[in-house]
Symmetry: C2
Subunit: 251 residues, 2 copies
DNA sequence: GTACGCCCGATAGGATCCAATCACAACCGC
DNA sequence: GCGGTTGTGATTGGATCCTATCGGGCGTAC
């Protein structure tokens, strides 16, 4: 026979790498089983999120290919992956740029997050374990004492990722992850501001969230999370200077 | 100079093709200016949505390349595009399959839609024109008289796409479009059922939606739309036979 | 002096060829 | 007879080469 090998759907996906945690985002060992595109995409994603590749800067295929010791073919694949991640903008026959978002787009992302993250939280709630919640308490505690931006961001991302850990969804988690990646730089700048101000409300919200989850109160958890994101969006809107002070795109 | 050509971000995107309408979905003329990947992706998308390529069937690169008179390189690009559209599932070193969704995943999609489409509608409302609304009335009228599934689906998609036409968003519209594509077959089967039953509630909802939009009542419009999607989800959950009677994947 | 058109370099996209990987199957040892 | 192993074919992934396209710079005409 010729065409009757494995024409049915694959048993499980298992190839989409990258968790909500930016460090392990795409560094799953299984992700690289012979897939250079994925490896390059993961590396580029890390470079973009770390700020090494600033928003608006151009990405040249040959340069990336040389850096990763590959040809331009897997680089193109990587760029497509990052485009679907929302981190790179491709223009046919022209080139690739690190995505840069306007203030309006950023507000759009936050409004999307306000709607879908509470849903994801609701879906996650029934399967959250006591270990999840204990760890979230720890993280909330550590965040309250954090003074460096990168440290806070790492804890914050792990905190929220944990809160979504019980969800059995696929697409929703991917969307949420994309939103987190796309808003990464804004959260970074915003964190800078509120760490300087020593605002406490973020930690109050985190504690309220864990409490609602512990009590199994999905409605309350949704409200707290929605408010958490909404407050951030409104705060962000009050700091338009963040959108002017973009890290400039060097060649 | 060497590196100082156009290293800034491109002025506008303008390359993401495909509207909410499945016919023009990706057939924008500008999409093909030397971009075979896009052209092939658009063709494949149409084949998948039309049912010509059934869910779960395998996609062979060489076969597609031959059909479109190209090499396998742009086919790979097309497959990546469709993967980010959620219509194709890629497994490294194994192959590509037309995405097939479980009942749980389908419910997930509808729940996502319940949350984000009302938001998109709210964002669209302020910029909707009288022409938009008049055309929506027409479409609602035609839908009430439609008796063929494809005809209804086409009108329905145009109706809702029009309701989102005022939105200045980018990402949100892409997400919504993806959800519509991924649920396309389910809507097809569901439409079959309710057309046979002669149910009127869908048309009532459509009229209520237009009325709320005319009155500029965003809150009411959101509620109606949420209920519209929610009711469909619950109806779908009551027809588990749809998930058994999948079109089989022929090689 | 300015505006238009042509030319050319650089970069992205595509074709062809080659290597790696996987699935199936037949074979051999126990 | 059965399980593990290895071989083979098909298919995907990657490298190299070639072509198309885009943008800037120069020259010329008005």
């Amino acid at each position: 026979m010729l065409g009757t090998m494995t024409d049915e759907h694959p048993t499980t996906a298992a190839t989409t790498s990258s968790s909500l945690d930016p460090d392990t985002a795409g560094n799953d060992d299984k992700g690289r089983h012979g897939n250079a595109s994925q490896r390059i995409a993961d590396g580029l994603r890390a470079s973009i999120l770390s700020g090494e590749l600033p928003a608006g800067s151009r990405i040249r295929q040959e340069e990336i290919a040389a850096r990763y010791g590959a040809s331009r073919i897997p680089v193109r694949g990587a760029l497509r992956i990052l485009e679907s991640d929302g981190l790179v903008r491709l223009v046919a026959n022209s080139g690739a740029w690190v995505a840069r978002f306007t203030r309006a787009e950023c507000e759009e992302f936050y409004q999307i997050r306000e709607r879908i993250e509470p849903l994801l939280l609701r879906m996650s709630l029934p399967c959250l374990t006591a270990e999840n919640l204990d760890r979230m308490d720890e993280l909330a505690e550590q965040m309250a004492r954090a003074d460096r931006v990168e440290h806070f961001l790492r804890l914050d991302r792990e905190f929220h990722a944990l809160s979504y850990d019980g969800a059995r969804t696929v697409v929703l988690q991917e969307i949420v992850q994309r939103m987190w990646n796309m808003t990464h730089h804004y959260r970074s700048m915003f964190t800078q501001v509120f760490l300087e101000q020593g605002s406490q409300i973020v930690h109050d919200e985190h504690r309220m969230l864990v409490r609602a989850l512990r009590e199994g109160d999905a409605e309350q958890a949704e409200l707290v999370l929605c408010g958490h994101i909404r407050r951030t969006r409104l705060q962000l809107a009050r700091h338009p200077e963040m959108f002017d002070a973009w890290p400039s795109a060097s060649g």
